[in-house]
């Protein structure tokens, strides 16, 4: 996207988005849609500012972010370690991969009731569910990345006399890194979704619980403030992954 005149397009694109916000304001002002569930952007914004400054919206945001990040980190570490162990050995793959393929389409949220039965409505339960759900994308992507390493590279490694540890750290892991990062990106999305769902179900403090309670008490502006924050959270996490990918996978960009 390095066409000339990129900036004018960017500005125009922001103008269009601003136009949609104005349209939303106009619809809300004219009460074309019931204000019970569509407050104008002004009221949502005011609720957001009030919640962040006077209310405890910031605390909820931090709680959700912490859950999401911790669960995702645990899932990523476990997923990479397990995925490397499975992906690097064809024999291990033959035994384990079919079962993983069967479990892959299972919605991660379906284990929430099981987790509740095991761990109760606790923070440990929430963390477990997030880590479990975010594990799958990372695990499967890592297995794929490790099993798709160019065999010639292993011959090069053998000819150079790399130790097994060096082979994994210097050949397999970097070669699998694009897949692993793609899995971690998906895992982060899953982590956010599960954090919100668990907070709704288990009543743990956080944005998920906040938006649910706001809806139940018909505080639509508060609800939208929470949704906007969740959108921002999703946006920022995707930007963070983009940034990491660009730094770590610079060699790929150069290849194009």
């Amino acid at each position: 996207m390095t066409f000339r005149g990129n900036l004018p397009w960017r500005i125009a694109s922001f103008a269009v988005a601003a136009g949609f916000v104005l349209l939303w304001q106009w619809i809300a002002d004219l009460k074309l849609v019931s204000p019970v569930f569509l407050p104008g952007p002004d009221r949502a914004w005011n609720a957001l500012v009030a919640g962040m400054t006077e209310g405890d919206l910031a605390t909820k945001l931090v709680a959700t972010v912490e859950r999401m990040i911790w669960g995702w980190l645990i899932a990523s570490l476990a997923g990479i370690a397990l995925g490397a162990a499975i992906g690097i050995s064809p024999r291990m793959r033959a035994y384990v991969a079919p079962m993983l393929e069967f479990l892959r389409p299972l919605p991660a949220s379906a284990i929430i009731p099981v987790a509740i039965a095991l761990l109760g409505l606790s923070d440990a339960m929430v963390l477990f569910v997030i880590a479990f759900g975010a594990l799958w994308p990372v695990l499967l992507a890592t297995i794929h990345g490790f099993s798709a390493v160019e065999p010639r590279l292993y011959e090069v490694g053998a000819a150079l006399g790399l130790t097994r540890r060096q082979t994994i750290m210097k050949l397999s892991l970097p070669s699998a890194s694009p897949d692993i990062l793609a899995g971690m990106r998906l895992g982060l999305t899953v982590a956010l979704i599960l954090a919100v769902v668990c907070e709704m179900l288990a009543g743990r403090d956080g944005l998920g619980n906040w938006i649910l309670l706001s809806a139940r008490s018909f505080r639509a502006p508060d609800l939208y403030a929470g949704v906007i924050l969740l959108g921002a959270l999703g946006f920022l996490s995707s930007v963070a992954i983009d940034w990491t990918e660009q730094r770590l996978l610079r060699w790929r960009a150069r290849a194009r």
Binding site: V36, L38, L103, L201, L212, L230, G231
Partner: protein
């Protein structure tokens, strides 16, 4: 080779069975595989499981149909008209990252509980991947094909229906498969989080009724439904592109 893949699940099942039987555990979360199996049979027998499956699939498929139709239409439009795509970029990128489950409370207020709420959220979740991937599919068409179209003096409509859509079709199908997987996941998630119907609600009720065998039976069943759906879609894709687009369809 398949036998080796079955070994591990069988071992785990036997271990779970023996573990539950020998320890005589009375758990609120765990049950012996044989009890889970019996519970699954009884849930099928009394029809409750099938009703729940019907509800979940109704929501998933209706949401999928609406979401992919919208995503496909805008994806084609944005793919064919780059200026429009660039004008809408900020708007799309602002809405897309909103986690679909964040819409549950809004849908509760606007639509109340029931099919419509689930369908709306599933449609939202399916529309964006469909839009993005369709747009990419059209942008990724071999430029030589456009030259061919020009050389053949095809009209704009002919270009869309004879060149662009067929060329992008395999990748659009991949997008559809992805969206279908998302549809089931989101449908079940909405039911677990809020909506009192379908398989997600069933598993939650079984947990609250402290009936672990039934809860796990639902879990297994959800897994089977997910696997079957995925299997059917992969099969359909291979059937359609067995020869012309097999390589691309498998991506």
């Amino acid at each position: 080779m398949r036998a080796r893949g079955l070994l591990l699940p069988l071992l785990l099942l036997v271990a779970a069975e023996l573990g539950m039987r020998l320890s005589g555990t009375q758990s609120m979360a765990l049950a012996a595989p044989s009890d889970v199996f019996l519970s699954l049979l009884s849930a099928i027998g009394d029809g409750s499981l099938l009703v729940a499956t019907r509800d979940t699939l109704t929501v998933a498929f209706a949401g999928l149909a609406i979401g992919t139709a919208v995503g496909l239409a805008f994806g084609i439009l944005f793919g064919l008209v780059p200026p429009l795509n660039r004008l809408m970029e900020v708007t799309i990128e602002a809405i897309r990252p909103v986690p679909s489950v964040a819409l549950i409370p809004i849908a509760m207020l606007a639509l109340g509980f029931g099919y419509r709420m689930g369908i709306a959220i599933v449609a939202f979740a399916c529309a964006f991947p469909m839009l993005i991937l369709t747009r990419a599919a059209i942008a990724g068409i071999e430029p030589r094909l456009f030259e061919v179209a020009r050389a053949l003096r095809l009209s704009a409509m002919q270009r869309v229906f004879k060149i662009i859509l067929p060329a992008a079709f395999p990748r659009i199908m991949v997008a559809f498969r992805l969206a279908a997987g998302i549809a089931l996941v989101v449908a079940v998630t909405v039911e677990i989080a809020a909506n009192p119907l379908g398989l997600g609600y069933g598993i939650l009720i079984a947990q609250q009724a402290l009936d672990p065998a039934r809860m796990l039976a639902y879990l297994v069943w959800i897994g089977i439904v997910g696997y079957a759906l995925n299997w059917a879609l992969v099969g359909a894709q291979h059937g359609m592109f067995g020869r012309a687009g097999g390589a691309e369809a498998r991506q």
